[in-house]
Amino acid sequence: MREQSFLKDKLLPISTVVLLLIAVWYVAAAFLNAPFERDTAARAGTEIGFSEIVRNTMAQERPVLPAPHQVVAEIWDTTANKAITSKRSLIYHAWITLSATLLGFGIGAALGVLLAVGIVHNRAMDRSLMPWVIASQTIPILAIAPMIIVVLNAIGIAGLLPKALISTYLSFFPVVVGMVKGLRSPETIQLDLMHTYNASPAQTFWKLRWPSSMPYLFTSLKVAVAISLVGAIVGELPTGAVAGLGARLLAGSYYGQTVQIWAALFMAAALAAVLVMIVGFAHSAVLKRMGAKP
């Protein structure tokens, strides 16, 4: 195997594809926004040249597809130029979504691990719960999100918790499935060895099952943290666009503020990327601590 070079195998191809995408985006923006410019020109009774159309499509107020630099300008404007406490600051909205995501992810991960431990140690639980855990993954659980929000609002629980509950629900299944697999990953030989050491179930758990489940845990945590962000965003939709990235999306779609939608979308993407990266770093840190070779 040839040594992988960072420049040739990573940076170059990825940046080429990204640049290509941005170029396609610009062309698409010009193409999609052009009809509006032609309409305005026709209504004003003036001829409009090609170069002018292209120039105008890059700076429309409410474009069909905003040009990349418009989105970047909007993100910069709403993050750096607004006070963080302001309702127009994207950081404020991102924080609202992030707090719900993290709370839900925390509860979901803890619950998932506990349930997985129960499933591994109790046969009845395994047989009766596991098929339902798997079946529940095939159910579009996000569909319940608005109902949970509205119902909990009706009995006086509002704010962070309902959204976090949706994130919990979504993030908990990948953790259960991954952890059950991980806690069962020690081979019979290893379990037998623990047996010959006369290890108690607790010792077997902490010294063998738990450490060997770590790779599985972190893999499912990555999925779980991404999906809890989705849960939090969708959870913000039915509350009537109060605050959060989901609310920004909904408000943007109500008022035709496409630039705002794209800015919120990119913020959500950045948030997801950072969260997944943090879990990834924790993963490699834990594996290193356990003495795994990179």
Binding site: R127, T258, I261
Partner: protein, 289 residues
């Protein structure tokens, strides 16, 4: 408060639990009896949940606005079958199936197209993995704006959601055939096309089916959530969001039940197809024995 009903439900729960505990410890001499027992345990658990749910709702007199009893949901489901069928047609048959076929097909085709260019693969694969972790569902309002309120915009959302998992999985699936096997194809003087059809595609099926299974869930979620952003007056997502507003929670649950059955059936069909196509794979073979 109706204590006897609640107590009865709890008693049923304890009895079912005890029965399950007993059942999983049994060793059946007969094969069919063993598989029947394996089937009965989760079924009994599901029934127990429903009974407990019914018991709690009736026992504590929980208002149906908060949580309707299963019997009430069932009644509503049976009574409003035409509405549910229309929603199912709009969301599932039109939006989900079209989008699923288009998105998966497109992902597959693009994966084959970039197969000959390692450069593009190296560029697209990390990007695809990255996009898979993003809240793609956020493009829903944009798609509704572009393609209108009807099912076409939902198709677009579903296509975007299903494209990247399919792309990533197909590309890694096409790389799954080992060097030894590929060398053998070379010694046969097989063309790229022959190698693809006879060796690499069959080796890629488990990966492709993995993506198909992931996408079956994603597609339904995408279509339903996209309907929250604007839709004609029919569709599962539309029904859920409006009936929540009108506090007809039993109708919402009926819709969720339909979505759950549709989602599970969809997944089941894909899983069955997987068993038929990848019959040689260890995970399928061990499942049969």
């Amino acid at each position: 408060m109706n204590i006897p009903v609640f107590a009865g439900a709890v008693l049923f729960w304890l009895a079912a639990w005890a029965f399950n505990e007993w059942l999983v410890r049994q060793h059946f001499a007969h094969r069919t009896a063993a598989s029947a027992a394996r089937f009965a345990v989760p079924l009994l658990f599901g029934i127990t949940i429903l009974v407990l749910w019914e018991g709690i709702v009736r026992g504590f007199g929980i208002p149906s606005v908060l949580l309707p009893a299963p019997s009430m949901i069932w009644q509503r489901l049976v009574n409003s079958l035409p509405t549910l069928a229309a929603d199912f047609r709009q969301t599932f048959l039109k939006a989900v199936l079209t989008g699923y076929a288009l998105g998966c097909g497109l992902g597959f085709v693009v994966a084959i197209l970039i197969d000959r260019s390692p450069f593009l693969q190296k560029g697209l694969l990390p990007l695809g993995n990255f996009v898979s972790a993003l809240p793609v569902i956020g493009v829903a309002p944009i798609m509704v704006m572009w393609f209108g309120f009807d099912w076409q915009s939902k198709v677009a959302v579903v296509v975007i959601m299903t494209f990247f998992p399919m792309l990533v999985n197909t590309v890694s699936g096409l790389a799954a055939a080992s060097h030894m096997e590929r060398d053998l194809m070379r010694t046969y003087a097989a063309t790229w096309w022959q190698t693809l059809v006879k060796l690499r595609l069959p080796a890629a099926w488990p990966f492709i089916f993995n993506a198909l299974k992931i996408n079956s869930t994603l597609a339904l979620i995408g279509a339903i959530v996209a309907e929250f952003f604007g839709t004609p007056i029919v569709g599962m997502g539309f029904r859920i969001s409006t009936e929540v507003g009108r506090m007809n929670v039993d109708m919402v649950w009926a819709e969720i039940a339909v979505a759950a059955v549709a989602g599970s059936a969809f997944y089941g069909v894909v899983a069955l197809a997987e068993r038929a196509v990848t019959f040689w794979h260890p995970s399928v073979r061990s499942g049969r024995a």
